[in-house]
Amino acid sequence: MALIDTINPLLTTGWAKGDAGWSLKDYEARGGYKQLRRVLESRMSQDDLIAEVKKSVLRGRGGAGFPTGLKWSFMPKAAPVKYVVCNTDEGEPGTFKDRDLMRFDPHSVIEGMIIAGYAVGAKAGYNYIHGEIFEAYQRFEEALDQARAAGYLGDNILGSGFSFDLFAHHGWGAYICGEETGLLESIEGKKGQPRYKPPFPANFGLYGKPTTINNTETFAAIPFILGMGGEAYLNLGKPNNGGTKLFSVSGHVNRPGNFEVPMGTPFAKLLEMAGGMRGGRKLKAVIPGGSSAPVLPANVIMDCTMDYDSIAKAGSMLGSGAVIVMDETVCMVKALERLSYFYYEESCGQCTPCREGSGWLYRVVHRIEHGEGRPEDLDLLNRVTDNMMGKTICALADAAAFPVRSFIKHFQSEFEYHIENKKCLVDPEVQRMGSGFFKAGNV
């Protein structure tokens, strides 16, 4: 189980008992489904509901940070069939918050989705769950059964006349399905190859019907926003960056795990919550928003607060809130090689620049890491990324390019050292011990 530490627990209120606190009974005991009941019993208007969410300035927690209320308002009112879809296809390296939401508080997501269904006029929803987290999928299925049995799902929910049903769709290993239209294709039983946009899902979504897609954490926040009111939620964070956010901290920290903090919490504070640097070593770099976000060197990140605007100002992205912490034992070339392999492996193969370019990037970085780099390789990498970016249907090509560009930008001398000396700047034995896998007496 991931470690949890929170300031002002909200999303993580229910996590305290870990695997023992997820059931409907527990959820109801901590006020769960009260907001759904209130919405339905008061017959709250869809407009009022969306206005409340807008007020909270809840921004999409999946990575793009698009304002949720605004997204909901794009749904055409008159369409007879609409869908709500939850994106729990959490496969961005460094991100692992949705798994814990599924395991420890699935009902908050269910309640959030039902309320969203009510707000946009959908009668059915799907939660797309990352293939590798089968236990979370199973947990969610159980939670759905509980909610259905209790009358929160199905026809005429709580006698309100509003009907909504919700189903789980299990992925099976494809990062690209985290892209919302790739995800829709996948629910339709196809390869998860993203669609060209426009049309956007709000007009042409699942099965060609208007569809609202949000991240798991976004839906989970909805009941809390309604509980405290949009404005109060906004005020938990900072202007334009409402509420609290889950941060998944991984890498070279003493206590990797999920941490819920108000938007705008200093990075240093988050690092402290994660137990500080492993073995007291020196911070070298941080990827603040999942592997696709540009890496930031220690001096830059230490000045940042954890919110969309501050991280963007520093030249990176808050993304999904996945904070990958790297200390001085890391070879940046090797780190980039692994990330580049990931994008090469996960490119869906549809668009030429990504299909061909992601492999090109990986091969060149691989060469450098293996002592076969050439002086012109860094220029080549920058040129190839330039040719990939902004030229594909989805953002995966950009995601493959950002790490390459940022690693070279901030750690150019390390790459040059590698090319020149055909070896790592960081001693291999130092690298080996950095992982913590080998302890005294091990192997």
Binding site: G349, C351, T352, R355, E356, K391
Partner: protein, 777 residues
């Protein structure tokens, strides 16, 4: 309409147009690979990136919808940089094997690389190698060249109707392939060769045969089905090397069937007849033309003199040109014979004299795409009319309701509204039920002959669907026209379409099914039709372009009649053992590729064409041979200077569409009570057996559609007979029997056994429509 500006030029385009469509309207070329006007938008190759004002990133022209006031720059720095970037990516893993690639010279990638590629690649890593795939005998693969544009995949799924190809795996490992162990088998599969913008998919029969720039190109018209697909016939040294579609949106769009594409192999086959031959004393001798023509003329004149003109019969192939049929009937009539027919596979001629005009499609081919309700009666639609089926497939996707009444539930790959499948003898009554329901719903008096029919729920569903339409078509297929109650089916079709204010159409059986009527290649009132002149054998026959044992409704009977005749004169591009057995003289005529001529397609459009190549050997165009025969027989009016002269006489001018088309019919005796019982034969004429030319294409004969005939039947029939699929059964009709393997065909009504016609192995079985005995062999 919206107004947009492309490279400074403004134009008005329809709402919903894409930038690439607008650019094409303007004549501005935007480089592209995955985009194809007939396929869904994939936007995956990214070659068509252009700059759009206010858009921060380059936009794909194929997928960007125009908006009012949009400004597009196709050659700005941003656009060119993006296009060059994409070209570089396309080339890094593409082999540089243009010198040995069949696509060389007609390769979009090659062409665009000249404009957008760099002279040297910066890619120094190992290139990708992709295993080739076996797509069958028609399409050759070189998958390492594939740029994953997915045009071929979209073609199979969207146009041909079944996703035979897909893109497996992902990322750089993505590969286009068929399902493991499967080939590409639809009747339209060859079109993926044209669609492939690189040399990944090329023609297997054409492989390494010629470089494209060595080829001469001639426009032509398909001699096969009645659509009259427009073709480009490519030759080298007067040998046809390849056939491609010539785009004609009103007819074949940009497609052709595999039959149209690959039948040319037969043109160069070993059994081409290249010298006139005469049988003397039981021995065949190659002779000079004048000897053979003299021989033929004398023989025919003698029969006419001694036995009267009616002792001569003329069997004309419906694949012969208008000019050939016109001259043949003129010659026969000059000899005093009215026994002339081109409707070789018909079995019911009771409609003769009752039809108001020449039966045809009753609408333009393009109008098929505008029908919103369609009933197809008695048709192996997909195989008999591949591109008409394709049109209906697209219509059905857009909401048209297509229903089927037939004796075999072959998968048309069309979403059907309703269907009724019944034994051949039941079809008129089943159609009658639909007609009755239509009359009832429309509150029109129900004709007395329909009175006793009980309308089945399926017939009711078909009727309700038809009645709900505003543009209804009833289409009678080859099977309906060959049916023993063809006239009744015609009359019922007329009743239904008339009641609904819709259209009745005959899907022509062959390239000149309308032209045969226009040419007068049907018996006069005193003459015998095709069936009658074989049932009551003649002293002499003139056979034009047909192989009667395979092309007539009763091949066995045809063979017997020809064997009995004293003289059979055959004008044919090919020789066969059967001909050598029954004929007295063989006159080598040319196939469509070596003659000028005209085919009148199913909509009545007269399409003339020139020879694409010189005649092979001593073969001569049949119209010229017939002209000389007319002269030798001292007939008047045979002094034509050109085939155009013949056409002008046959058509009374040079109209685009022939006159006299009318699908009305009057006075057909209606008896809808089904009579037959026992096991009925359902006979199809498989697409690659249908005419002498296609039967000689080696590649097509290896395709899935050329499987040897079997005795196909339902599971219930197999059980009733106590045979397992694959086991041999003895099938008998009219005293003869053949042995065929039994095969399960879940789409057949009980009480029927399907046995393909037009194949040597089933000739002995006799008529297309018959009661059969079937037993374990």
């Amino acid at each position: 309409m919206v107004e947009i500006e492309i490279d400074g030029k403004t134009l008005q385009v329809e709402d919903g147009s894409t930038v690439i469509e607008a650019a094409h309207k303007l004549g501005t070329y935007i480089p592209h690979f995955c985009y194809h006007k007939k396929l869904s938008i994939a936007a995956n190759c990214r070659m068509c990136l252009v700059q759009v004002e206010k858009a921060p990133k380059p936009m794909p022209a194929c997928a960007t919808i125009v908006t009012n006031g949009m400004k597009v720059f196709t050659h700005s720095d941003l656009a060119i940089k993006a296009q060059k970037a994409v070209m570089e990516f396309l080339l890094i893993n593409h082999p540089l094997d243009c010198p040995i690639c069949d696509q060389g010279g007609e390769c979009q990638l090659q062409d665009l690389a000249v404009g957008y590629g760099d002279s040297a690649s910066k890619y120094e890593e190992e290139k990708r190698v992709v295993p080739d795939k076996d797509l069958g005998p028609l399409v050759s693969t070189d998958m390492t060249r594939c740029i994953n544009c997915t045009r071929c995949i979209r073609f199979t799924a969207e146009i041909a109707g079944f996703m035979e190809l897909g893109q497996s795996y992902r990322g750089e490992r993505a590969e286009v392939m068929p399902f493991i162990g499967k080939t590409v088998d639809t009747e339209l599969s060859g079109n993926i060769i044209d669609l492939c913008p690189v040399g990944a998919l090329t023609s297997k029969p054409f492989r390494f045969a010629a470089r494209t720039w060595e080829l001469s190109r001639r426009k032509s018209v398909s001699p096969h089905d009645a659509l009259g697909s427009n073709l480009i016939v490519q030759t080298k040294h007067d040998r046809v090397m390849r056939v491609l579609p010539l785009e004609n949106e009103d007819i074949n769009e940009c497609w052709i069937s595999d039959k149209d594409r690959f039948s040319y192999q037969g043109l160069n086959g070993a059994d081409r007849l290249t010298k006139p031959m005469v049988k003397q004393g039981g021995e065949w001798k190659e002779v000079d033309w004048n000897v053979a023509l003299d021989y033929a003329a004398h023989a025919l004149r003698d029969v006419a003199k001694n036995h009267g003109g009616s002792a001569i019969g003329g069997l004309l192939s419906p694949h012969a040109t208008l000019e050939e049929m016109f001259l043949a009937q003129k010659l026969l009539r000059g000899l005093g014979s009215e026994n002339i027919d081109f409707r070789l596979r018909h079995t019911d001629f009771s409609g003769d004299g009752k039809r108001v005009g020449i039966p045809s499609l009753g609408m333009k081919i393009a109008d098929i795409s505008r029908l919103d309700r369609v009933l197809v009666v008695g048709s192996f639609l997909r195989k008999d009319h591949p591109l008409i089926a394709q049109r209906l497939r697209q219509s059905a996707k857009k909401g048209a309701e297509v229903s089927v009444l037939h004796s075999a539930d072959d998968d048309l790959l069309i979403k059907l509204k309703a269907c009724v499948f019944a034994a051949p003898s039941q079809l008129p009554a089943q159609f009658g039920q639909v007609a009755k329901a239509v009359c009832t719903i429309k509150s029109v008096a129900v004709p007395h002959f329909l009175g006793e029919l009980v309308v089945s729920p399926e017939a009711q569903t078909i009727a309700e669907s038809l009645v709900s339409g505003s543009n209804v078509g009833v289409l009678l297929g080859n099977f309906a026209q060959q049916h023993p109650q063809a006239a009744m089916l015609h009359a019922l079709g007329r009743l239904v379409s008339k009641t609904l204010g819709g259209r009745l159409g005959f899907l022509g059986e062959a390239a000149n099914s309308v032209g045969g009527y226009v040419a007068g290649a049907i018996p006069g009132t005193t003459g015998l039709n095709a069936a009658a002149m074989l049932a009551d054998s003649r002293q002499a026959y003139v056979v034009l372009g047909a192989e009667p044992e395979l092309d007539c409704a009763n091949g066995a009977q045809a063979l017997a009649a020809l064997a009995k005749a004293a003289v059979t004169v055959v004008l044919t591009p090919f020789k066969s053992q059967a001909m050598l057995d029954y004929a007295a003289v063989l006159l080598p005529t040319t196939p469509f590729s070596e003659t000028s001529g005209t085919f009148v397609n199913t909509e009545g459009r007269a399409q003339s064409f020139y020879a694409a190549a010189k005649p092979l050997g001593d073969a001569r165009p049949a119209w010229k041979v017939l002209r000389v025969l007319g002269n030798l027989l001292d007939q008047s009016g045979f002094d034509y200077n050109s085939s155009e002269d013949v056409r002008t006489e046959a058509l009374g001018g040079n109209p685009e569409f022939v006159a006299g088309l009318d699908n009305a019919v009057d006075g057909v005796v209606m008896k809808l009570a089904p009579t037959a019982s026992g096991i009925e034969r359902v006979s199809d004429v498989p697409i690659h057996f249908a005419d002498p030319l296609v039967r000689r294409s080696l590649a097509l004969q290896m395709a899935a559609d050329s499987a040897a005939p079997a005795a196909r039947m339902s599971a219930a029939m197999l059980a009733k007979l106590g045979v397992a699929a694959g086991a041999d059964v003895r099938v008998g009709a009219g005293g003869t029997a053949i042995v065929l393997p039994a095969q399960l065909d879940a789409g057949l009504p009980d009480g029927t056994v399907r046995i393909a016609a037009a194949h040597a192995s089933t000739v002995a079985l006799g008529p297309l429509f018959a009661n059969l005995t079937v037993e374990k062999a």
